[in-house]
C-alpha cells in the first residue's frame, strides 16, 4: 500500500489539503492528532510543515511500517470507535485521511456504528483545544452513510459541514468533513477544475457543488 507511488502522491495531496482546511495560525508549530495514521504518509506531511503529531491506527502492521519509515510523530495502537484516549484540550487540531468511513462498518456483531461514531466524535470534541478544528477526509459509501456520520458529529457538539472538492470529477472528487469545536465559522470553499494549483480564487457556484452545513434544528441532544 505504502509503496505504490501514485497512492503515496494522492495521500500526501489529501494531507496537504486537510492541513490547508485546518486553517492553523501561520508560522506556529502545533500539536496535532492524525486519526487512522497508517504508515505515516500524512504524518510526514505534518512534520514537514513543522508540526508535532500523535497518530492513532488500529493496524499493528501499518504502525510497524510507520516505524520502519522513521516517522517523527508518536504512534498509538488504538480503535477510534473506542474513543480518543487523551485529556481534554490536548490538541490544536486533528486530521484524518481515508479512515473514518470504517466506523460505519460493524466488524463484530456487538458493534453499533452510530454508537462507535458518537464515542469517536464526542471524545474527539473533548481532546481538541476550544475552537480547534478537525478535518476528516473520507470515502462515504452513499449519502445515508454521510448523514449518519454528520449526525453523530453534530450530536457530539461539533458545527461545520462537508466540503466536496472537484464534485464533477468521478476520479478527483473528495469529501472533507470540516468540524469546528468552537463557534460556527465559515465553511472553506471547495476546489474545482478551474482553480489554479497554487492559489484559490473565487469559485463559481454551480448546481453540482454540494457543500452543506449541518443543521442543528430538530436534533434532540442525547
Amino acid at each position: 500500500y505504502g509503496r505504490n507511488s501514485r497512492m503515496i502522491d494522492v495521500q500526501t495531496k489529501m494531507a496537504g489539503r486537510a492541513l490547508e482546511l485546518l486553517c492553523l495560525p501561520e508560522g506556529q508549530p502545533c500539536y496535532l492528532l492524525d486519526i487512522g495514521c497508517g504508515s505515516g504518509l500524512s504524518g510526514d506531511y505534518l512534520s514537514d510543515e513543522g508540526h508535532y503529531w500523535v497518530g492513532i491506527d488500529i493496524s499493528p502492521a501499518m504502525l510497524d511500517a510507520a516505524l520502519d519509515r522513521d516517522t517523527e510523530g508518536d504512534l498509538l495502537l488504538g480503535d477510534m470507535g473506542q474513543g480518543i484516549p487523551f485529556k481534554p484540550g490536548s490538541f490544536d487540531g486533528c486530521i484524518s485521511i481515508s479512515a473514518i468511513q470504517w466506523l460505519c462498518n460493524a466488524n463484530k456483531k456487538s458493534d453499533i456504528p452510530a454508537k462507535r461514531l458518537y464515542c469517536f466524535f464526542s471524545s474527539l470534541y473533548s481532546v481538541l483545544v476550544r475552537g480547534a478544528r478537525a478535518v476528516l477526509q473520507l470515502y462515504p459509501e452513499n449519502s445515508e452513510q454521510l448523514e449518519l456520520i454528520t449526525t453523530q458529529a453534530t450530536k457530539a457538539g461539533f458545527t461545520g459541514g462537508v466540503v466536496v472538492d472537484f464534485p464533477n470529477s468521478a476520479k478527483a472528487k473528495k469529501f472533507y468533513l470540516c468540524l469546528f469545536s468552537g463557534p460556527s465559522t465559515f465553511l472553506p470553499k471547495a476546489l474545482n477544475e478551474s482553480n489554479d494549483e497554487e492559489e484559490t480564487r473565487e469559485s463559481e457556484f454551480t448546481s453540482e457543488r454540494i457543500p452543506y452545513r449541518m443543521a442543528r434544528r430538530g436534533l434532540v441532544r442525547k
Partner: protein
C-alpha cells in the same frame, strides 16, 4: 512514546471517571533522541502539563534536571524551556507499560507504541 503524549492519555475505560486519570508510566527500555528545540512550541505545551504525573515519570525514568513546576516568566526562560523540551520531546520509551492508577489495568508499550485497544467488556457502557 514520549512523555508529552503520556502526560495526556486517559482511556475511556468503564469504571473510570469521565476525566480519567493520568496513566502511570513504567519503562524497561528508553532511548534519547535529539529533537530540534522550538521554544514557542514548548512554551505553549507548558500549561497542558500534568506536573505530578510528569515528575513521577521523570523519577521512574531516572531523568535529571527536570523542573518541578512552571516558573514565573517561563515563556522567556531558555534554560527552563530547554529542560522541558528535553523531558517532553527527547525521551522515548521503547518498552514499558502505562498503568491506570484506579483499576490497575496495564497498557503495554512495545517498540515505542502503546497498545490502547480495549476489550469488549471494557467498552460496554
Amino acid at each position: 512514546m514520549k512523555p508529552l503524549p503520556h502526560n495526556l492519555p486517559s482511556p475511556h475505560v468503564r469504571g473510570v471517571g469521565p476525566r480519567g486519570f493520568p496513566l502511570r508510566l513504567q519503562a524497561t527500555e528508553v532511548r534519547i533522541n535529539p529533537v530540534e528545540f522550538n521554544p514557542d512550541f514548548v512554551a505553549r505545551m507548558i500549561p497542558k502539563v500534568e506536573w505530578a504525573a510528569l515528575l513521577e515519570a521523570a523519577d521512574t525514568l531516572h531523568l535529571v534536571e527536570v523542573p518541578k513546576g512552571p516558573i514565573e516568566g517561563y515563556e522567556h526562560d531558555e534554560k527552563f524551556l530547554r529542560q522541558m523540551h528535553h523531558v517532553l520531546l527527547e525521551v522515548d520509551v521503547l518498552e514499558g507499560t502505562l498503568q491506570c492508577p484506579e483499576s490497575g489495568r496495564l497498557f503495554p508499550i512495545s517498540r515505542g507504541i502503546p497498545n490502547m485497544l480495549l476489550s469488549d467488556e471494557e467498552t460496554e457502557t
